[in-house]
Symmetry: C2
Subunit: 509 residues, 2 copies
């Protein structure tokens, strides 16, 4: 999306292929499940975006099923659901940008696909919404025993990420704020339980956040089962195994939502097998988002992972490139000449300097007494930089990363001709000359986990953690500003207002 | 709905059974198909209405499958879709109010159920909406010939009632106002055709209205095929037979919507077979909405038809009841004493007087010279009233009738005890005493048929017919005021505004 918004259409002939004709603002998906926000309000037809680009972008509502990187072709299927089968469409490309996202990972757990709705697409959330009200309607039928009613109102959520926590909170609020008013007879029978295989929920967040959430859930009567793996789902029961004890138990449920880790889409899996990456979970790209070994194929978002090179892997190349007079030692000046390029090429160095509270990279060159060194040999450089790579971190699988990558990539494409002659990238250490572009650089603006009851856990840059009502308002404003268009912005805001005044709608549509 | 809103819950124990947990404002269904109004905005959870009644009404989300009037029981199925099958629930009743509405009539045309979406439930409209945008996406695939594209964008609408006309108009507006902007490449390929078996569309309306609509459709490029019966629908073609010529032709289509006449729901069909009404299209009720022969079963809305007794059927009973002194002739006074009851019992008499421009029923008693008669014998009365029954008209199958019947019936129930002693109804001619209640009396407030392009055909009481922009505004205000609740009223109004500003959304969800 951010790629499409920023790409310069005058120099490229862009074709977009997607199995649905709209973009959705995925961070609000959990809000859809309980009707806090309507599906229409977070989607934007792709063709509207194209219209703003004067229609120079071609859109095809097709599903990409195979990538042939050798012949630079993609094979797509149309969404025809006729008995004649799907129509196959073959498209050539010069550059291919893969941004399919990931899909829910079932870990091949038996019964999951059959019995659990996922939290992934807009359609899923609509299914979940219908299911929730349906559970209440079913529990209110006259021929049920108390036990059966409790069973029907037992909601099990598998997973522990922010999406899962937000859905749990939404569900809890929906029940407490809206449904109890219209289903007073069943209100005390509702049980919500979160099953997480890790040792904490929200384990990509700061520990303070995750323990706050666990405590809040406990106060709200939401049970959290950590270190607990789902081993099977049948029509009315879910089998879980507590890791430490190895005991398998069955939990009867009314509804299970599966929101576990991300998995690989079949088309990406197939492509990865072709290019010898079959053991990975997502496409490995270099720091310029190019799929390794395929210069004209780019991957962004959750379907790719940047394989950041380590400083120590390249240390001797760096040393010989920096040692211009081949003296076998680097002077401080030689080191300073090259350090800017190292900082750009290896972002972990900057993180390292920050964590060590060093003002500049020059401060690395100190001897054990803390005195500045005049020059350094290869062993000295190695020991100075030896801990830098410990700061290497994978990027989170969030919309924030994908959006920044899209903008970055569009910029690369737009400047492709210009930077062929005047490269903007850092020095190439292995070869002569510079890289054409700066590598992708992720700027983290923090992350949110709405907790329900007008509270949100926020983790912002600068080690700032906040949980409470103020961050809920921050959340409202950030998410409103991130909407695709002004129309959706107005709609989402008006639905938040509507929820305050009228509550959520419980019609089973 | 109007019944539930008006019933006095203190004296009755009311149970509502419905296969979905919401009411929808059906007159706006066609607006849903193209996203002029969102589905959420015209539905109201039944439990919200119950909440306003302090929860004294029981609601069950079940589908009624069998009515056993002899034992005063109904058999319902829960909406469980488990492999174990549906749960059967048995409910007793003292009074049963049937208000299931009708369902689309396929006339057993082969292929209709498989290939044609209907225009009946909220779910149908969502399916149609997805289908419409889907047709445009399919037509824009690169591997299609011009001919195939035209085929994919050929919309066939079967039917000719107000719903059908409104949908056609909505579809035309959606294409012309919104879709051409984002699918510019296919805009000239769209064809819309209405297939109607009668000789005119809108044949329940005034002739001026239907010819205006036909002309407007012609100007808009919408083809109207009257006197044309659909004899079969296959996956890509619809077979029609022109009645006059008897020629069968096949029309290739991209999408067919079936909005033909109303048919009988299976549960009603089954009940009608039990009570010997199997040859009818809907339940026959008396003028008090009681199913004939079953005093505790009421039918309202499209699933029942009032069987209004004719004056001439009862003429001798009326005569002997009126002839209090058994003289064999009625004096003017005797006639006047009874005429008020006749007017209430046989509404066709009032219509007759109005059409003949007679000021009062007394004016009926004139001889051939136009002089007032002093008295009249049975033959004289017969000839005076002989043409009255020609004014008998069935009630239209509209929400307006159903709403008035609901209010009427709630009033009857609320006053049941009170009127046992002091009857409000007209004199019983066959037996002594009075009827407990006045018979149902329909007050026609006119009907609308929105024509698209901000025009609406309106037919109002007093022979007032209007087609144009002013009636569109009348339509907006009437439909806004008829909404179920203030929330839906606000939502519908804001969506009309949104459509003016932003157009309709074309996302395929």
């Amino acid at each position: 999306m951010s790629f499409l918004k920023n790409i310069d259409i005058s120099s490229f002939d862009v074709q977009v292929m997607l199995p649905s004709n709209y973009f959705s603002f995925t961070p609000l998906l959990p809000s859809l499940t309980c009707g806090t926000v309507e599906a229409r309000s977070i989607v934007e037809p792709i063709r509207n975006i194209i219209k703003k680009k004067n229609g120079q972008i071609q859109f095809r509502e097709v599903e990409c099923v195979k990538i042939d990187a050798t012949n630079k072709k993609v094979i797509c299927h149309s969404n025809d659901d006729t008995v004649l089968g799907k129509t196959e469409i073959l498209l050539d490309y010069d550059y291919l940008v893969i941004a399919t996202g990931a899909q829910v990972n079932t870990f091949n757990t038996p019964g999951v696909t059959e019995h659990c709705p996922f939290l992934q697409e807009v359609e899923d959330t609509q299914k979940i919404r219908r299911s929730v009200t349906n559970s209440f309607e079913k529990a209110d039928l006259p021929n049920l025993s108390q036990e059966e009613k409790i069973m029907k109102l037992h909601f099990v959520i598998v997973g522990g990420g922010p999406t899962c926590v937000e859905f749990t909170a939404e569900l809890h609020d929906f029940v407490k704020e809206d449904l109890v008013k219209i289903y007073p007879m069943v209100q005390n029978l509702v049980r919500i339980i979160v099953v997480q295989s890790g040792d904490h929920i929200l384990n990509t967040f700061d520990e303070r956040v995750s323990s706050f959430v666990e405590q809040k859930f406990q106060r709200d009567g939401i049970k959290v089962k950590t270190e607990c793996r789902v081993i099977g789902v049948s029509e009315k029961e879910i089998d879980v195994k507590v890791k430490s004890e190895g005991i398998v138990s069955s939990i009867p449920y009314g509804m299970v939502v599966w929101s576990a880790d991300t998995g690989t889409r079949p088309v990406i899996r197939n492509f990865m097998e072709q290019i010898g990456q079959s053991k990975r979970r997502s496409l490995a790209t270099d720091e310029w988002l190019r799929v390794e070994g395929y210069d004209s194929v780019y991957a962004l978002g959750d379907c790719g992972t940047i394989h950041q090179r380590k400083v120590m892997e390249d240390i001797s190349t760096i040393f010989s490139a920096a040692d211009k007079d081949d003296s076998g030692t680097l002077t401080v000046k030689e080191f300073q000449d090259v350090i800017k390029d190292i900082l750009v090429r290896y972002p972990q160095l900057e993180l390292y300097l920050k964590n060590k509270h060093l003002r500049s990279a020059k401060d690395l060159l100190k001897d054990s007494q803390g005195n500045d060194m005049k020059e350094v040999n290869i062993e000295g450089l190695k020991s100075a930089l030896s801990h830098v790579d410990s700061q290497l971190k994978g990027l989170p699988a969030t919309a924030q990363v994908a959006a920044q990558q899209g903008t970055y990539l569009a910029r690369c494409f737009n400047h492709m001709e210009e930077y062929k002659t005047s490269q903007e990238g850092p020095l190439q250490f292995k070869e002569s000359g510079r890289h054409q572009f700066r590598p992708f650089w992720y700027k983290h603006f923090g992350q949110f986990a709405p907790l329900g009851g007008e509270q949100t856990a926020a983790e912002l840059p600068g080690d700032w953690v906040s949980t409470g009502h103020s961050s809920q308002w921050l959340w409202y404003s950030v998410y409103a500003s991130k909407q695709v268009s002004w129309l959706t912005r107005v709609l989402v805001a008006s639905e938040w207002t509507r929820r305050f005044i009228f509550g959520r709608d419980s019609s089973g549509i």
